[in-house]
Symmetry: C2
């Protein structure tokens, strides 16, 4: 498009974003250069700062800029409960219900053997270590109610039970086949209260 | 989401892209940080280089890194024909046909009075100057066949005719490869009127 190598490079880089094809990438590049150069510079800085500054929390594995995230450092939270979620977005949805005051472990993925994502890739070893810190009494599995999320929950549940830990699963108040981040908060709250 | 200001800043910056909402922005940020940090850095560099390096061609107004773009500099092209398009993507579509060997003028937009985009915003003055360089004999209007594109073509056509220039419009008609029974009636009506 047009007569510019750096424009082509920008379109190519935008196309690497998930859900962005060539037409969307062209539209985005065009918009930024024609109408929002300040936005382009803001995005460039945000990308660099996040790529350099964001790491994983040593305890719960979520994104943070500190060795241990604010949630894990919060002494008012109930350290006897550990809620396992797939992504930070899922964690955020649970937090917004205001019902849960325990801690979290963020898998940053789910088991997906067909894509080559096994127990090692989503850090299950780290979860098992974390769950056996002596404080955790109950592990609440809040992976998505999709086929892969259920399989992930099953694998974790079996492993933790074998280690003598109490394991619960979000109640089936959450509609089967849906993903947590898109479920309304009331439904998530009910599922938390009715966990089994 | 999560415990990171720079992650929030990244999501916010991604949300400024056209067609990207909060969920898509979260998904993009999550993907870049979890699976493609190299992609984040590449995109950051591409954004900065494009934002600093890309300007408008002095003759045709398209994106370029040079004062005058490669197409306008190409002496083998027919300088007596000037094709007016809305965007570099439209220009690219025309180029790929291989049929046109004249020059271009890229409006970088279209008249859209409801959005406050008038003749001044899309640089019509520049087009009128360009079309009166003494070389141009025919201006081919290739704006889109939308309401706004048609209105833009009409305004340009009137202004250029008043300046004594020859003005043509891309033919409207039935798309190649289509069957009449599935073509909308407006298109068939135009194809009948414009029959040759």
């Amino acid at each position: 498009m047009a007569d510019s190598n750096s424009l082509d490079a920008l379109i190519h880089a935008l196309k690497r974003l998930p859900g962005v094809g060539i037409k969307s990438a062209q539209r985005m590049a065009f918009h930024l250069l024609q109408h929002d150069r300040a936005g382009a510079e803001t995005l460039a800085r945000a990308l660099q700062e996040a790529a350099h500054g964001v790491r994983h929390c040593e305890r719960c594995h979520t994104f943070t800029e500190h060795p241990v995230c604010g949630t894990c450092q919060d002494s008012r939270r109930d350290a006897s409960k550990l809620c396992v979620v797939e992504t930070p977005a899922d964690q955020s949805a649970l937090e917004r219900t205001g019902v849960y005051r325990g801690l979290y472990f963020v898998l940053m993925g789910k088991l997906s053997p067909l894509d080559g994502i096994g127990p090692h890739e989503i850090g299950l070893k780290k979860l098992f270590d974390r769950a056996q810190d002596g404080m955790v009494e109950e592990v609440i599995l809040a992976t998505n109610f999709t086929a892969e999320g259920e399989a992930t929950a099953h694998v974790i549940s079996e492993a933790l039970k074998a280690r003598g830990l109490g394991v619960t699963r979000l109640a089936r108040g959450v509609p089967a086949g849906s993903e947590l981040e898109y479920v309304d908060l009331g439904t998530i709250a009910h599922a938390l209260v009715d966990r089994r």
